[in-house]
Amino acid sequence: MVKDLVEFRNLETHFHTTAGTVKAVDNVSFTIREGETLCVVGESGCGKSVTAMSLMQLIESPPGKIVGGEILFEGRDLLKLSKRDMSKIRGNEISMIFQEPMSSLNPVLTIGHQISEPLMLHMLLDRKAAKKRAIELITLVGISRPDKIFDSYPHELSGGMRQRIMIAIALSCDPKLLIADEPTTALDVTIQAQILDLMRDIKQKLNTSIMLITHDLGVVAEMADYVVVMYAGKVIEEAPVLELFQDPQHPYTKGLLKAKPIINQKQERLYSIPGQVPNPIDLEDNCHFHDRCEFCMDICKVKQPPFRTHGKDNHKSACWLYEEEREVL
């Protein structure tokens, strides 16, 4: 039996702006299991990064605030921890890599310094032991000449190398969960292939759980064990990866899968989802996808569909198409 590592329960993260309240994460629940890669997929502004930032409690406040729900990490509610206890978990048991490897490293410190820092802070190693471990880590992420890289500065490295260094820093304290927020979006495809290979490799070697945030369904198909699809702050579908690609239920998921041009499968015309993502300010209590949906019914415009299984145990979605009740009350 695979154990649950992280459980999001009805998480609500809101941003209060002068124009109104943005429910960036609106009643989101899902589970990351041990040793599993979970992909969160969705378009810009759907709340996938905010969900990850809420887990790390890195939401800038104000304007952001976690207003409700629980985030259980190995059974403990992270939202109830003191700041001090949380900073022990951050970087130690849960670590994170970001999209921009250019801006997430400090340009005036050497690579070695930046990898050693968490080792000395969290693992309480001395300078010498930290250097030894840092060089092991640089080797682990597939960089040759680790001694030389240890003394280099970030600007001397290419984008792909910097992302490898970010992964090395994230892995320095043997985290149980690695959050990767669009780790390959800023990289070229041939470099992306290298980084994805590396992440798969690490997951196998170290049995780390990975929460991978991406907008690219190709990356999802390649990396994920389990997929969560988000739209306008809500989870609208979740399923194991094979199930999701073979039998998507929500019209939005179906649309996304059809809209992406696939190499060697040329179509006359691409399927496109009409319209655009709704304005996130003060959304109404209905299905947020209704105005772009070809199956839109009356009930979709006035009431939110429940998020639950429809026939298959491990496949949940939120759509009125699969509900018995369809009449507007």
């Binding site: 495809v189 990866v241 690609f245 992406k260 179509q267 015309r269 496109s272």
Partner: protein, 321 residues
């Protein structure tokens, strides 16, 4: 035989690197290094390659948005670099460009209707009624509503701004459009809308495109012919169908296999390239790809391969083809 609209021969564009106290030129970044190709009327040519391969520089240089270092660029048989200033100006409406980033290519203080119509005034249309009419007509073609004429750019989403960018290019009734990564900054569902818009426009207005992208699947969808670039050189070019069915250059093969396929059951047999893209300021000797090539041998290090036709209009630069 189709008419050649744009003919580019041995184009070179070097950016100088300056250094020292006197800012003397100490080297060159060879962004575009001896590239030749033709674009026929009504076709769309795709240019693909990774960052720094010179694909955008080509797009800008053939429109004379930056000066060339060497080579010739003929548009409708006229050498753009030899035209007198006034004549070049009259030529400009026929060739337009759409940029990648719809957020930074629009002036935030100018209403979009004015931004779209701006070029008309510059090219001699003075009647504001006529301008407004033309703008509304173009906005309509690009999928924008007429009430949006008086809105400012910040009121639009990324996809709509890209429509504005396309409308700006279209208002002059151009014959040739350089589209520089027009969908790279957009989400998947919006990307499909813009791709469809571009292909509709091409059909309705008999446009010719140079479509620059790093995404091979988008290029396959939209283009008739594709050129693959690496470090300032063209390494392979052929019709889209031929290229995707039978890629010859090892770089093209690697590039294709690196694209993640949205199908979890897909068995990939991937060529993962080792190492990073070398700096274009100091490219490798011989074949520029030899440092990452899985089949490189001694000859590749010493001698640059000839870029030649291997039949069927399929051009490739590799010793082993």
């Amino acid at each position: 035989m189709k008419e050649v609209l744009m003919q580019v021969d041995n184009l070179k564009k070097y950016f100088p690197i300056t250094g020292g106290v006197f800012q003397r030129t100490v080297g060159n970044v060879k962004a575009v290094d001896d590239v030749s190709f033709r674009i026929h009327r009504g076709e769309s040519l795709g240019l693909v390659g990774e960052s720094g391969c010179g694909k955008s520089t080509i797009g800008r240089t053939i429109l004379r948005l930056n000066e060339k270092t060497d080579g010739t660029v003929l548009f409708q048989g006229k050498d753009l670099y030899k035209l007198p200033k006034e004549e070049l100006r009259r030529m400009r409406p026929k060739m337009q460009i759409v940029f990648q980033d719809p957020f930074s290519s629009l002036n935030p203080r100018i209403k979009v209707g004015q931004a779209i119509g701006e070029a008309l005034y510059d090219h001699g249309v003075t009647d504001s009624k006529v301008v407004r009419e033309r703008v509304l007509e173009t906005m309509n073609i690009c999928g924008l509503a007429s009430y949006q004429y008086d809105r400012y750019p910040h009121e639009f989403s990324g996809g709509q701004r890209q429509r504005i960018g396309i409308a700006r290019a279209l208002i002059m009734n151009p014959e040739f459009i350089v589209a520089d990564e027009p969908v790279s900054a957009l989400d998947v569902s919006i990307q499909a809308q813009i791709i469809n818009l571009l292909s509709d426009l091409q059909r309705d207005k008999q446009l010719t495109y140079l479509f620059i992208s790093h995404d091979l699947s988008v290029v396959e969808h939209l283009c008739d012919r594709v050129g693959v670039m690496y470090l300032g050189s063209m390494v392979e070019m052929s019709s889209t169908e031929e290229l995707f069915r039978n890629p010859l250059h090892p770089y093209t093969k690697a590039l294709m296999s690196a694209i993640p396929v949205p199908d979890p059951t897909y068995k990939r047999d991937r060529v993962v390239l080792q190492g990073d893209i070398p700096s274009p300021a100091n490219p490798p000797s011989g074949c520029k790809f030899h440092t990452r090539c899985p089949i490189a041998s001694d000859i590749c290090k010493q001698q640059a391969p000839e870029y030649r036709d291997v039949g069927n209009d399929h051009l490739v630069a590799c010793h082993f083809v």
